[in-house]
Symmetry: C2
Subunit: 456 residues, 2 copies
C-alpha cells in the first residue's frame, strides 16, 4: 500500500490554490508538469485551476482517487482527512504543519485515529511529501527557478527534514546525480523511516538508500529491517542531533527525541549502515554507491596529470586505511613505455602536466588490468591544455573494466561541465582528491559489510 504514494493513477490536491506563490498552487503546477495520471484540484471557490477542472469537495469527484495531498490550515486537516476516508482514499500526504512539532500533540493523535478508522496511510504531517523521478509524483512546493529536479537515477532518499531534503535534491540536480524516490518524513504520524527503508529495500529502481535522520521511531524494528536491506543494497545515514544542543534543536524541529549518538553509532556499525558525517558526505557516498561496484580489497591506484593532487590523494589514502597498490612488473614496464622519459613510473602515476587523453587511456588500461589493483582514483586537472576533451570518452570506457573507480575534476565552468556530463553517465566525480579517495574507501567499506554478512 506504500506503493500507491509513488505510483497512483489519480491524485486529489485538497487546498489547491489559484494564487501563484501559494503552496496549493506550486504543488498543482509541479504535478501538472510531471505526472501523467489524473489530477483533481479541490477548492470550494474555483471551477478551474491551471486548466484543470476543480471540485468543491472530494466527494464530487466521480472517479476513484488513489492519493490525496492535504495542504490546508491545520484546523481543517481533520475534516479533510475524514473526507478522504469517506471517499475511500487510502494514501494521504499531509503537508500542513501545526501539529506535534508545534506542541499540538492531541491534534496529531486525533489525525492518527481518523486514519486508523478508515485504513488510511499517512505521510506527514509537517512535511513536503514525495518526489518520484520515474512516475512524476512531485508534491514539493518549490519554484522551478529555485529548485532543479534530478534526473532518473538509483538513489532512494528519506529525510526527516523537508527543507534539507529540498536543498539536497537541488544539489543532486546541479551535480547531475540521479534520484529514484524522495520522501520527506515530517512528524511521522504514520509512515516512518522503518517502513520506507523496508519498501526501498525491495524497490528495484533503488540501488542505494540515503537517510537524513533526527530520530528513529523504534530501535529494534529499525535494526531488523536495516540488516535485511543492507544485504541487498547499501544504506547511508546522516544522524543529526548528536550533541546536547543538537538534541535540543531536534525536539523543537520535529518534536522527536534524538537519543544517544553513541548508541546510534553502534547500531549503524552493527547493521552495516555507512555513516555520513555531514551533508557533503551524504551526497558523496550515496552517488558512488549508486553506480560503482564494491572494492574487493583496499589496494588502489592513483592516476593524475598533476603531481600535487597525486600526493594529496596518496596521503588521504593512507589516512583512510587504503593502500597504494604495488603494480605488477608487467604493468610498470608498460607504464614506463607510455610515459615520457622525464616521468617516473610508480603509484601514484604522475602522467605529468603535458598528458593528453591518449596517455591517460594507455596508462589506465595497464592499471585497470593489473591484478594488484582493487580500485582506481583518476585525477584530471582539466585546467591543463594538453588534456583534450576526448578524456570524457576515455573515462566513460573505463566502465568496461568492471573495476570500481572515481574521478577528481574541479574548477570553473569548463571543468564543472565535464564533471556533470560524467555524472550523467553514472561516473562519480569529486572536486578534490580528498573526497574522491573517501568515496573509494566507502566502496571498500560496503564490500567488507557484505563479506561480514556472508560469514554470519
Amino acid at each position: 500500500m506504500i506503493e500507491k504514494f509513488f505510483n497512483p493513477k489519480s491524485i486529489a490536491v485538497i487546498g489547491a490554490s489559484r494564487t501563484p506563490g501559494k503552496v496549493g498552487y506550486a504543488i498543482l503546477e509541479n504535478l501538472k508538469k510531471s505526472f501523467s495520471g489524473k489530477i483533481y484540484p479541490i477548492n470550494p471557490f474555483a471551477t478551474e485551476i491551471l486548466g484543470l477542472k476543480a471540485y468543491s469537495s472530494l466527494k464530487d469527484i466521480p472517479e476513484k482517487v488513489d492519493l490525496a495531498i492535504i495542504a490546508v490550515k491545520a484546523e481543517i486537516v481533520k475534516e479533510a482527512l475524514k473526507d478522504c476516508g469517506e471517499k475511500g482514499v487510502k494514501n494521504v500526504i499531509i503537508i500542513s504543519s501545526g501539529f506535534k512539532e508545534a506542541g499540538n500533540v492531541k491534534e496529531e493523535e486525533e489525525i492518527k485515529k481518523i486514519a486508523k478508522k478508515y485504513g488510511i496511510r499517512i505521510i506527514g504531517p509537517n512535511c513536503i511529501g514525495v518526489f518520484d523521478a520515474y512516475t512524476g509524483i512531485d508534491t514539493l512546493f518549490s519554484e522551478q527557478k529555485r529548485v532543479k529536479k534530478p534526473r532518473k537515477g538509483y538513489v532512494g532518499f528519506i529525510s526527516q527534514s523537508g527543507a534539507l531534503g529540498l536543498m539536497l535534491i537541488d544539489t543532486y540536480a546541479e551535480l547531475g546525480v540521479g534520484l529514484s524516490k524522495f520522501v520527506s518524513l515530517g512528524n511521522k504520524a504514520d509512515v516512518d523511516e522503518i517502513e520506507l527503508l523496508k519498501f526501498f529495500g525491495k524497490d528495484p529502481s533503488i540501488r542505494v538508500v540515503s537517510m537524513y535522520l533526527e530520530s528513529v521511531s523504534n530501535g529494534k524494528a529499525f535494526m531488523k529491517i536495516a540488516k535485511e536491506v543492507v544485504k541487498k543494497k547499501p544504506v547511508v545515514c546522516l544522524k543529526a542531533g548528536r550533541t546536547e544542543k543538537g538534541k535540543k534543536a531536534v525536539l523543537s524541529h520535529t518534536g522527536s527525541i534524538a537519543g544517544s549518538y553513541e548508541v546510534y553509532k553502534a547500531v549503524f556499525k552493527q547493521c552495516g549502515i555507512i555513516e555520513a558525517n555531514d551533508i557533503e558526505e551524504l551526497i558523496d557516498f550515496t552517488k558512488v554507491l549508486a553506480c560503482q561496484p564494491t572494492l574487493k580489497g583496499n589496494r588502489i591506484a592513483i592516476v593524475t596529470n598533476g603531481g600535487g593532487c597525486g600526493i594529496i590523494a596518496s596521503d588521504q589514502a593512507e589516512a583512510e586505511n587504503m593502500k597504494l597498490a604495488e603494480f605488477e612488473k608487467s604493468t610498470l614496464k608498460k607504464i614506463k613505455q607510455i610515459l615520457p622519459p622525464y616521468a617516473v613510473a610508480s603509484n601514484p602515476v604522475d602522467l605529468t602536466g603535458d598528458a593528453n587523453s591518449e596517455r591517460y587511456k594507455a596508462v589506465l588500461e595497464a592499471v585497470f588490468k593489473d591484478r594488484n589493483v582493487d580500485g582506481v582514483c583518476i585525477i584530471c586537472l582539466t585546467q591543463l591544455a594538453p588534456l583534450d576533451e576526448n578524456i570524457i570518452n576515455v573515462l566513460e570506457e573505463c566502465k568496461f573494466y568492471a573495476k570500481p573507480f572515481v574521478v577528481c575534476i574541479g574548477g570553473s565552468k569548463y571543468s564543472v561541465e565535464i564533471a556533470k556530463h560524467l555524472e550523467m553517465q553514472g561516473i562519480p566525480v569529486y572536486p578534490t582528491p580528498h573526497r574522491a579517495i573517501k568515496a573509494l574507501r566507502v566502496l571498500y567499506e560496503y564490500g567488507n559489510v557484505l563479506k561480514r554478512i556472508k560469514k554470519e
Copy 2:
C-alpha cells in the same frame, strides 16, 4: 627586488611562440590582455607575434627589461639566462622543466651559478610563474576557456605545485573569491616559500597568506619568518607528503624531501600557522580569514530557515569546540516577538520555512547586538520560496555590526549565483553548515593565536 616579479615596467618572453596551444603563445596572450607595461616577445624566427614587435635576441631590445620569462627547452635555458645577465635583467621566471625534478641536479646547479654571477633572482624552474590581479602580471600558460582568473582580492597564494595552483585559481574565480598574488614555486632554485612569505607579510594588498607546501627549504628560517608574519596576518598551510607513499611521490614531483609530518604539525602550531587538511579547507579557511574579523570568544549564534541544517550546524559547533551562545534575556524577548507563535526562540534560531528577508533582518539585528554572541552562522535555504531576494541586502548589511559571520547557501544555479554575489562583496559563503561552522572556528583559532602572541 622580489617586488619586480610582481610589478615590472617591462617584460621579455624568451621562447615566445606564434603557434596557439604552445606555452610561449599562451603566456604572451595572457600578458597582452592584462599587463599594461611593455612586452617584448623573443623569437629568432618572428618579427611580430600577436601584434607585438618580436626580437631575435634579448640584447636587441633598446630599452631596459625588468622581468624575463624563460619558456624554452631545458638545454638552452642556461644560454637564455646568460643573455638576461648580459642585458641586466635582474628578475627571471623559468617556466621550463627538465631539471632537478627529472634528476638533472647538475643542470640546476649551473643555473644557480649563472644567476649568482649576474645577481639574478629566479622563480622556478619547472613552474608556471606568477599571477598578480592588481598589476596584471600573468605568466600562467592557461587557456581562457579552461581557467578563469579571480578578481582583485586579499589572498596571497604560494604553491609548490603549479597544476594544483591553477586548479585553485580557477576555483577561486568560480566562487567569486578574490586573489592578490599567486606564485608557483617549482623547484625553488632561488626564491623559495620563506622569502615569499616574508614578502607577502609586508604586502598591504595581502590580508591572508595561503600555502601549498611539499617541503620547506630551511626549517629554522621558515619558523622565524612565519612567527613574524602571523603577528600581522593569518597564514594557512596545506602540507602534502605526510605519509610514506606521499613522501615518495613528493620526491618524484618536485625533487624535495617532504620531512616528518609530525614535525611540521608541531612547527605550524608553534608558529600559529593554521593547518588545512585538504584543498577544500585551504580555500574555505583563506577566504574567511581574508574578509572577516577574528572571533573574540567561541560563543556563536546560528540563524536558519531550515531546522535540519540548524541541528547539523549545532552538532558541528560542539565538534569544533565552539559553544552555542546563551542569548541575553532581552534578545530572547525580541526574537519571540519577531517569530511566529509556532516557532521556538532559542539558539539555533529556527526562523522556520516561511521566513522572509524581513524576519531574517529583525532577528539578525537582535542576535548580532547580543553581547553574548561572538560570531554568527547564517543559514539560508534559498530553495524555500518565502525567502525573497532582499536577503542579499540583509546579509550585506550584517557587515555593519562589525562582528564575524559566515553564510551557508547551497544548491543549484539560483543559490550558486546568490552565493557568488555575496562572495564578491567579501562575505564568505559555504555550501554546507559543516563547512560554515569550521570557518567560524578558524576565525576563533586565529584570534587565539593573536592573543597568545601578545602574551609572549
